[in-house]
């Protein structure tokens, strides 16, 4: 590391979900961010997806608030249409050169009215819709684009191709934003670090005409299916055959197109996400088309993530998706009908033919050419599979110091893992640039809040079309006309997407223009979008509490799609109710509390130590609490990571660095036994094994308590000496125990305690571990016979190379199903393993010297106890439940608390490390600020009505209410009153539900407001 200056700004290359997360975390913790995007708008691939697994959340709906946040963040500078052409300098002080292509539209003038697009005569294939349908030469990548500015595609534009021609857009643009003389610009930007998050491209099956793609339009890619299923897609969510528009009745998914295939596409690795995405698409397609039959043709079902196996089982059992493990022979077109004939060899070796209306190719991920160029410019090393090379213990660091990665550039991965890496890269950057924190950032200057106490009520109503999501069902014009007639409403306006950046700006402007002092947004759900609109009010100088949302999408247009008249009437009621409620809305101000700028990490395993070390290197004091007398956790039982790094060497280094860091206070043999406080101000009691106690204070905490190996209850474990668990086997093997040394025949049995009733989850690491062990055994002695009995071989992502190597070495893989589990019996010194052979259609008897059970990873039994202390939930299996499976993968719903490592879900070392760094980055967004703002939803005492009966004190779950006696007038009896401790109050309102005197209420939910809502609801 250089001792030179450190620059407090960062460049992030790529505005997909990973880059966005990194940008937000860094900008929120004291660094200035340049977010560089090659397209005209940020959003990446996620904005093209319809829904996301395993929650089936609408992809655009959950990412849109993040896009807007990036777009309006004071410390994020968006640079679109840019590519990196040079990076010189050293970690802490780089000079990056960017080439920015001309947009031909002046961003300062464009108001995104869309008149240009309406008048553009040139149509070309719509790349946002994966080539389905057309877009114009002047266009927006997608309706909610950030920045919401049009752009001209120079290759398609008639005028730019032929000077003097066309130019319609320029003529119709009232804003005068079109600039045909726009030119390329070169920027040179000084930053302390660079994060590469350029993402991936989906494999294109066209050049090789894989499975007939390109020859028959009824063969589509999985990305195209996403667009067909999306209500904002080219067919507005109607799934019809591309060839003839006929309804689709039978649909087939072919897995591993462009993945796990070195012959046709050269991509030997597994793309890791396509199995889940196919299952999700099959389930959703069935919802779109009643009676649709869906079949997924696959080699191994790789549903190794959290909640994935449950999703798979539901798809199989409840949705009726058919799963066919097979070798695909060919896809042929029936010339007459356009139907597709699939030939395949099923599990029993039989040749089968079947017809389908539509075939979907589950296309894999690969590194696009321009990213390979970027890697060259950045001078970073790549793996054989063309992904960025990183260490398993530093999964976001590239080979060049100061340059980091996140997302699919470092291997195929899903959205949560990309988000985790986005945060992890932010943590790694913050560690490097800690001395320069706050040096380049701009401090917010909040618009002064308007005092509305003397104003008459002036309500503004904004009605969202949500594309066609609302407007396709509700008569929005009628709704708007009705809304104007409501009392005190002075302005009503419809918005195509009220969450888009331009709508936000327009709302801000209209608030000022019409002196609005109450706002109703009739759109989607406040649960996802209220924070966004509250921000908008703040920017407009209006108190954030003067907002009410009418949920006319999730709770109206979507659930009454078959009753447009009823839905329109209900929308009117919902708007009327919101107006009634907001009329009694009052400004309320969040209390700020000082932050204890220290962290707590519970658990001294790899995840806990990594998080603690990162926070300490970022400059924060950290308490590291470990219940045992040893640091290291489960990693002490591991030998090698999948890529071959020696775990114990790395763990030893990590322990050294943790012990030597003076900012880390280690509490060995202590446990957390009591927690009070809240974000920014937690107090915990630690109890030692001898019963001593001490209290620590911290602003944010990370739960990394790890997991544990299950103890097998089957396969005669415990009664046959040669039947051992994988962990035991590693030890025996390492110590060259003679039984292992002399053994010639090894059988690995997978999924012991995983993926079965009661434990319907994949332990994620065991397939790779078994394959690795098998390879070592075989390499030690090629005469050994090694068998792996598996259900689905889940050597996901680049681990696939190990699977391939194992097969090459002659390791025998035998598939078994749940209904035909292997049988293990002892016969003297030998062990007999019986398993059904699918090729020979008969039971196969393997005589083995040793049987190794791939035991499941279980949560720790104290997880629930810690969950209760912090009021954070554990899932049905006992793993901690994150705030949102996709976009908040390390956050807890309790603010200020985060999760990492096996406590969250089984995972390999590099994913634990990434998650630990991510948790640390998230914690740093709190610790980096001197104070924290509390929620405005708090109980308030109405002193006029409160008579101090104290009923509320008994029911308050947070002991936030105390009784006071006040003597107001001398001589009179003291008046009894209750008082709220705002820091402790969580705003549940149980007090309000209990109070017999209307003496206590929660801001935003007062009795007056709810009664007004009721009256409005029942007036129609």
């Amino acid at each position: 590391m250089t001792d030179g200056k450190k620059v407090g700004s960062v460049m992030i290359v790529g505005g997909g979900v990973a880059g966005i997360q990194a940008a937000l975390d860094l900008a929120d913790s004291g660094f200035y961010v340049y977010l560089v995007e090659k397209a005209g708008a940020i959003g990446g691939t996620m904005v093209q997806l319809d829904k996301t697994f395993p929650t089936n959340d609408c992809s655009m709906c959950i990412i849109a608030p993040k896009l807007v946040e990036c777009g309006r963040h004071l410390n994020i500078h968006l640079l679109t249409l840019c590519e990196v052409t040079g990076i010189i300098g050293v970690a802490g002080d780089f000079a990056v050169t960017l080439r920015q292509s001309p947009r031909y539209v002046d961003m300062n003038k464009c108001i995104a009215c869309g008149v240009c697009t309406d008048n553009c005569p040139k149509k070309i294939d719509n790349d946002y819709n994966a080539g389905i349908g057309k877009r114009r030469a002047i266009y927006l990548r997608y309706p909610q684009a950030v920045p919401l500015k049009y752009q001209i595609d120079p290759a398609a534009c008639i005028r730019l191709q032929k000077p003097g021609a066309c130019g319609f857009c320029e003529k119709v643009c009232d804003a005068g934003a079109i600039n045909f003389t726009d030119v390329e610009k070169i920027h040179r930007i000084n930053v302390g670090a660079v994060i590469l998050a350029p993402g991936f491209e989906v494999f294109d099956p066209r050049p090789s005409e894989m499975w007939g793609y390109g020859s028959n339009v009824n063969i589509i890619t999985s990305l195209q299916l996403e667009r067909y299923l999306s209500t904002s897609g080219p067919t507005e969510g109607h799934l019809k055959r591309p060839l003839d528009g006929k309804p689709v009745r039978k649909m087939a998914f072919l897995q591993c197109v462009g993945s796990r295939d070195e012959n046709l596409c050269g991509n030997g690795y597994c793309s890791s996400v396509c199995c889940m995405s196919a299952i999700k698409e099959a389930v959703l397609a069935k919802e779109h088309v009643p009676g649709l039959q869906t079949s997924i043709f696959y080699m191994d079902m790789r549903t190794h993530g959290k909640g994935f196996d449950q999703y798979l089982e539901q798809a199989r059992r409840e949705a009726g998706v058919r799963f066919v493990r097979c070798r695909m022979g060919g896809v042929e077109t029936d010339e007459e009908s356009g139907d597709l004939r699939l030939r395949y060899v099923n599990e029993n070796g039989r040749q089968i033919e079947d017809f389908f209306d539509l075939v979907v190719l589950a296309v894999g991920m690969q590194t696009p050419k321009q990213v390979l160029d970027l890697a060259r410019v950045a001078d970073i090393r790549l793996t054989a599979d063309n992904f960025a090379a990183t260490s398993d213990f530093a999964p976001v660091k590239t080979s060049r110091e100061g340059i980091f990665t996140c997302g699919a550039i470092a291997g195929p991965k899903d959205i949560p893992q990309s988000v985790v890496e986005g945060s992890a890269a932010a943590a790694a950057v913050a560690e490097l640039l800690a001395p320069a924190r706050g040096e380049m950032t701009i401090l917010p200057t909040f618009s002064e809040e308007r005092d509305i106490s003397g104003e008459e009520v002036r309500i503004g109503i904004f009605i969202c079309h949500c594309g066609t999501n609302i407007a396709g069902v509700v008569d929005v014009k009628d709704l708007a006309e009705y809304s104007v007639t409501l009392p005190d409403v002075v302005h009503v306006e419809r918005k195509l997407f009220s969450c888009s950046q331009d709508s936000q700006e327009s709302i801000i402007q209209l608030i000022g223009e019409h002196r609005l002092n109450r706002i109703v947004i009739a759109a989607c759900t406040p649960r996802t979008h209220e924070p966004l609109f509250r921000e908008t009010l703040k920017v407009a100088g209006l108190n954030e509490c003067l907002l009410e949302m009418a949920n006319i999408r999730n709770q109206n247009s979507w659930v009454h799609g078959n009753n447009p008249v009823g839905a329109t009437n209900k929308a009117k009621d919902l708007v009327r109710m919101a107006v009634a409620k907001v009329t009694f809305g009052e400004a309320s101000h969040a209390t700020t509390m000082p932050v204890v700028q220290k962290g707590l990490v519970i658990g001294g395993g790899v995840a806990g130590m990594t998080a603690a070390l990162n926070l300490a290197q970022q400059g924060f004091t950290v308490h590291l609490v470990e219940r045992t007398d040893t640091l290291g956790g489960n990693a002490l039982n591991l030998k090698y990571t999948w890529s071959g790094e020696h775990v114990r060497t790395q763990v030893a280094k990590l322990i050294d660095r943790v012990i030597c860091n003076e900012r880390i206070i280690i509490h060995k043999e202590w446990t957390v036994t009591e927690v009070t406080g809240f974000v920014g101000n937690f107090h915990s009691t630690l109890t030692s094994k001898n019963g001593e106690t001490k209290v620590i204070e911290y602003g944010a905490g990370i739960v990394a308590i790890g997991g544990q190996a299950a103890v097998p209850s089957e396969y005669n474990y415990g009664s046959i000496t040669g039947v051992v668990t994988s962990v035991q086997f590693d030890k025996l093997h390492e110590f060259k125990e003679k039984h292992v040394k002399l053994a010639k025949r090894f059988v690995f049995i997978q999924c012991v305690g995983s993926r079965e009733e009661g434990h319907m989850y994949c332990s994620k690491v065991c397939c790779t571990h078994a394959v690795q062990s098998a390879i070592t055994l075989k390499k030690e002695n090629p005469d050994r016979n090694v068998y792996i009995l598996y259900r689905d071989m889940r050597t996901y992502a680049q681990r696939e190379s190990l699977y391939k190597e194992a097969r090459k070495l002659g390791i025998i893989f035998i598939n078994y199903e749940m209904h035909g589990k292997p049988r293990v019996t002892g016969r003297g010194a030998e062990i007999e393993v019986e398993v059904w052979d699918h090729v020979l259609h008969q039971p196969l008897l393997i005589v083995a010297d040793m049987v190794i059970l791939a035991v499941a990873i279980r949560p720790r039994e104290d997880a629930e106890k810690i969950g209760k202390l912090y009021k954070v939930p554990v899932d049905g299996h006992g793993f901690f439940h994150e705030a949102h499976a996709k976009l908040r993968p390390v956050d807890f719903s309790t603010e200020g608390m985060f999760v990492a490592g096996l406590a969250h879900y089984p995972k390999p070392v590099e994913e634990s490390v990434a998650q630990a760094l991510a948790a640390s980055a998230r914690a740093a967004t709190i610790l980096a600020k001197p104070e924290v703002q509390l929620d405005t939803i708090k109980a308030i005492v109405d002193e006029e009505f409160c008579d101090g009966c104290a009923l509320c004190i008994d029911v308050c779950p947070y002991h936030a209410i105390t009784l006071l006696e006040q003597t107001a007038v001398a001589g009179e009896a003291p008046k009894k009153l209750v008082r709220i401790n705002v820091a402790q109050c969580k705003g549940c309102g149980i007090c309000q539900g209990t109070c017999p005197k209307r003496g206590i209420y929660v801001a935003g939910f007062t009795i007056k407001q709810v009664l007004a809502q009721l009256q409005a609801a029942l007036a129609g």
Binding site: N56, D57, C58, E287, T525, P526, R527, N551, R553, N554, Q555, N556, W558, V559, H560, G561, N562, N563, G566, A567, N569, K570, D573, L574, M577, K871, P873, S893, I937, V955, P957, Y958, K986, G987, C988, G989, I990, Q992, G993, T994, C995, V1002, F1005, I1007, V1010, L1011, Q1013, L1014, Q1015, A1017, L1018
Partner: protein
């Protein structure tokens, strides 16, 4: 349209309101006459609100909270449950059928429970 009973559903922010949102995401369909009022917790709903809603002309009032034991605020739903006896007595006194008030517990991931609860309530009221 007038045959559709008017139902007020007090939903807690964390579970039942989220489940109702999810019912939308999954495009489940339910009677158009239900009006959801978002509360922070089922324990926030004062008995007076139930009575007032019926007085104002609601045909039924539902309180939907998190599953017992899973309250976001520890035990707010237990408090709601404890109060429900009093609500029913109050309704008896005022001459309302007890079918007009109901309590339901569901998690945020159970949109079907939500849909079934409102559908059944609508049917039950129609029979009254």
């Amino acid at each position: 349209m007038d045959l559709e009973p008017k139902i007020i559903a007090f939903c807690c922010n964390w579970c039942s309101y989220a489940a109702a949102d999810l019912a939308g995401t999954a495009r489940m369909q339910y009677p158009v006459s239900v009006r959801i009022i978002r509360m922070m917790c089922s324990g926030m709903v004062h008995p007076e609100l139930v009575v007032e809603a019926l007085k104002m002309g609601a045909d039924a009032v539902m309180i939907l909270g998190c599953r017992l034991g899973e309250c976001h605020y520890q035990d707010g739903n237990h408090k709601a449950l404890a109060r429900s006896g009093m609500i029913i007595e109050l309704l008896d006194d005022l001459g309302y059928e007890r079918e007009r008030f109901s309590l339901h517990w569901l998690s945020s991931a159970e949109p079907l429970v939500f849909v079934n609860a409102v559908t059944e309530t609508a049917e039950r009221i129609r029979r009254l």
